[in-house]
């Protein structure tokens, strides 16, 4: 469903993505991990064109996403994006956050949009908070609303950019639970995360990145038990025992 071919990206003189060629199949759950600065966030942000690329190509559902004449807005409306900082719209209620795009972009009328949004909020466990504003919700609740907001457009693909990194530890679980259920329902997902438990339980594949390159790609079982690339081995041992000396 997704295909990266020789993708390179620079921020000025700094190369953030180096010759990335990967693919993701429909229904797959791919976790991208790596140390900070590895380019994993950049990679996922190129998928909905929040970041431009300088060379190479990206195809989603067989179409080149940088093709001339492509309607960027229509393209983005078919991809769900969940941000690290949630980015809920504070001047709207949770329900209104979820009905905004369907009403204005998919032509649903108010009643249809509300019905769909309530169902989604129910699914993420927040139907009782439908009329609350973002400032009245905890971080975990905000992120779940953000997921519902993205799902309201019925996208075939969901992207998650470190969805739990800005949450207090006790709220991480509620968000991961929602993501797990999405995966179980067959959603194609690309997730940038540090949550190794999620990767182990839910991912079909793990991509390990460092300094702009994908250094290792493997099934979770293989990645966590027997990483091949030395940098990946270093990364995993740092995570497991941060105070161990070499």
């Amino acid at each position: 469903m997704i295909k990266f071919e020789n993708v390179n990206k620079w921020y000025g003189a700094y190369q953030a993505l180096v010759d990335v060629s990967e693919s993701v199949d429909k229904g797959e759950v791919v976790v991208v991990c790596g140390p900070s600065g590895s380019g994993k966030s950049t990679l996922i942000r190129t998928l909905n064109r929040l970041e431009p690329i300088q060379s190479g190509s990206i195809h989603i559902e067989g179409k080149n996403i940088h093709a001339k004449g492509l309607d960027v807005n229509a393209f983005r409306s078919r991809i769900g994006f969940v941000f690290q900082q949630f980015n809920l719209f504070p001047h709207l209620t949770a329900l209104e956050n979820c009905t905004l795009a369907p009403i204005h972009l998919r032509g649903l009328n108010k009643a249809q949009a509300r019905e769909q949004a309530m169902a989604l909020l129910e699914r993420v466990g927040l139907a009782h908070k439908a009329h609350a504003f973002a400032t009245e919700l905890s971080g975990g609740q905000q992120q779940r609303v953000a997921i519902a907001r993205a799902l309201a457009m019925e996208p075939p693909l969901m992207l998650f950019d470190e969805p739990t990194s800005a949450l207090d530890p006790e709220m991480v679980g509620e968000v991961l639970t929602v993501m797990k259920s999405l995966a179980k329902d067959g959603m194609t997902m690309v997730v940038v995360t540090h949550e190794m438990g999620f990767a182990r339980d839910v991912a079909d594949r793990v991509l390990f990145m460092d300094v702009g390159r994908v250094l290792e790609r493997a099934r979770p079982h293989d990645f966590f038990n027997a990483p091949e690339h030395p940098r990946a081995q270093q990364f995993l041992s740092d995570i497991r025992s941060p105070f161990a000396t070499a």
Binding site: L50, A74, F81, N87, H91, A101, L105, T135, S138, A146
Partner: protein
């Protein structure tokens, strides 16, 4: 005559000028001019402000230049241009009120443009990213997500701009517009013996008006920051 006699004789003239025997003047004219000026300047200022942040350089650059030029010019200069120049260009002889109004609208719009710009650029970048990620266009995101939030944050600045506009109306004096400063001078010419008291009264009038309004702006700002505070219950939520 004593000062109390002055107040007794001229208080109505001070408030409304020669009305109804002549056009509206005095404090009433000041308020009407300021309100009308700001009201008309708002849509223009909004458009200019959007132009200032526009991602298209062919819009952004000329508008930025225009705003800078107007802001670098004294208001009096703008008034003179309008007063001396407009009639010869448009062929219509505008009266002092219309001239002053046009000058105020143009001048205030340039300042409002900066307030709008600051309001828009003060929003976290993530808001625009989230809106665009949903598929909203640039204008759609502006209309539905950015401006509703930005305009709310701008409210204290807008009230301050209204206070500034009230003070700006005083320059109508120079082209003979019968706003409150002009009326005060007329009264002073008639009475002649109590200038310091008359002008202190003028100052006091402006003070009550402007100070009151800026307290309002302060109250707006307090209410705004209170609403933004998260109201989390004491216990962690599941």
């Amino acid at each position: 005559m004593s000062f109390l006699e002055v107040i007794d004789t001229y208080w109505l003239y001070f408030l409304v000028g020669p009305y109804p025997k002549g056009p509206l003047g005095g404090l009433a004219l000041t308020l009407v001019l300021a309100s009308l000026g700001l009201l008309l300047a708002l849509p223009l200022g909004l458009i200019l402000g959007l132009g200032r942040v526009s991602p298209w350089a062919w819009i952004r650059l000329p508008i930025t230049a225009l705003v800078y030029v107007v802001r670098a010019t004294p208001l009096l200069m703008v008034i003179f241009w309008a007063y001396f120049f407009l009639p010869s260009v448009t062929g219509i002889k505008t009266d002092q009120f219309a001239t002053m109004l046009i000058a105020l609208v143009v001048f205030d719009a340039a300042y409002l443009a900066e307030i709008v710009r600051a309001g828009i650029q003060g929003l976290p970048k993530g808001q625009v990213e989230a809106a665009r990620s949903l598929g909203l266009s640039y204008l759609g995101a502006m209309r539905l997500v950015v401006l509703p939030q930005a305009l709310r944050h701008m409210l204290p600045s807008l009230v301050n701009q209204f206070v500034a506009t009230i003070k700006e109306t005083s320059l109508g004096y120079i082209i003979g517009l019968a706003e409150v400063s002009f009326i005060a001078t007329q009264i002073n010419t008639l009475v002649f013996t109590l200038p310091s008291q008359i002008y202190m009264t003028l100052g006091l009038t402006y003070f009550i008006l402007c100070f009151g309004l800026s307290r309002l702006a302060y109250w707006f700002e307090r209410r705004l920051s209170q609403r933004e505070k998260p109201h989390l219950p004491a216990r962690a939520l599941t």
